[in-house]
Symmetry: C2
Subunit: 236 residues, 2 copies
């Protein structure tokens, strides 16, 4: 019983290429602006042009690839303005999402269990000595937190839209350099969100999320001013 529902067992080649490329773009292995010729991707992935094209089109719809007709695809560029836009938009969506998650948790014991466990993990993280490993562990945990919030979001459109923004955020993190001191503060922000969510205080949770995003953006900009990052266009 490997397939839970029809068509779930098999991953099409288009899915495969899409997933691979998405991952590489997210990790920054394919830098912004990198040309993605269909033929090159055919050689690289072993698939034929048809699934490669489909993957590129899908990535373009997600904003990870810029597609110019009759000219080809490139990994989408990242400008200062696009970073601002991304975080402004997240500041609109994610407070609303955590508000819905808070309301959902009020009547869903399993959800409360998940967030309680996460709260413990965040608390453990903050007691560890600063290190590369701790930073990695924290961001992995923060990712799981974000996905949990997304999963608890009732509104289909809201859920899908936030999910689509995540690769952009992840890429930004992998393109810029991590500030170890940021981890301390960010853990505190996540603890605050967990507490509010578990206490059923939707407004407080939303506020905490908004401030968390504001702080994240500020940190990114501060670090960018200091260390003019690798794959970023600083035009905007």
């Amino acid at each position: 019983m490997s397939a839970a529902f029809p068509g779930a067992g098999a991953e099409s080649k288009a899915d495969l290429v899409h997933r691979q490329l998405k991952e590489e773009i997210e990790l920054g292995e394919l830098a912004p602006g990198t040309p993605l010729s269909e033929l090159w991707l055919v050689e690289r992935t072993g698939a034929s042009r048809t699934p490669v094209r489909e993957a590129l089109r899908r990535l373009a719809a997600e904003g990870l690839v810029d597609l110019v007709p009759r000219q080809g695809a490139r990994v989408s560029r990242v400008s200062l303005q696009s970073v601002r836009d991304l975080f402004d938009f997240r500041s609109l969506l994610e407070p609303a999402a955590i508000r819905q998650a808070t309301e959902a948790a009020a009547t869903d014991a399993e959800l409360r269990r998940v967030f309680t466990a996460m709260r413990s993990e965040f608390a453990r993280t903050v007691r560890r000595a600063p290190s590369q490993a701790r930073s990695r562990a924290f961001y992995e945990l923060a990712d799981r937190f974000d996905w949990a919030v997304i999963g608890a979001t009732r509104n289909e459109h809201l859920r899908r839209t936030i999910a689509e923004l995540r690769p952009h955020t992840a890429r930004l993190r992998n393109l810029s350099h991590v500030d170890p001191r940021r981890v301390e503060v960010s853990v505190a922000e996540h603890l605050r969100m967990c507490d509010a969510l578990l206490a059923g205080e939707a407004d407080e949770a939303a506020t905490a999320m908004a401030e968390h995003l504001t702080q994240s953006l500020a940190t990114i900009f501060r670090n960018l001013a200091r260390a003019p990052a690798d794959g970023l266009d600083l035009l905007g």
Copy 2:
């Protein structure tokens, strides 16, 4: 010089099929649930399977088509829950958008001119005697208003997301029956939005938009309860 920027002059067959299908779905000519076999679309449009597939994939990304792997595409279904989700999401996005538009108009004379002209048109509409023609004219005008707001939205993500929701809203209007009395009220709501926007009162504009959306949803549900609409699943 018909092409303002590279690749703008020619519309690919994929673009064509996409646009045609989108329009037919929006108008309700292709009812929710209608199967969209690739071969059938090939016969219908004259294009080959490759562009047809691309169009279907794009429509699926926009949520207008449901795509089941190895099984095919259908025009996406509309449930009561999906209508609620749509309007809840719009209530989150569009007040923010009109807020940005209001701020933009404060420093953009051309934008003010556009909205002033629209205000006049709305005022003219309200003085006409109720009729089918007036309803059509009003909705066409309301559409232009929405697009103007979208166009004045600074945030790229916000703009794209709202634009992507519009076909869903339009389809809903074309699937259900128009209530002539709603026009009266809706015109007033649009006048209020125009006034606030032109006066530079962003909060008032946002509030007006939020209430407008609330009223729209309420009307749709009221009419649906009375006249169980044609192409809608009433499961949710």
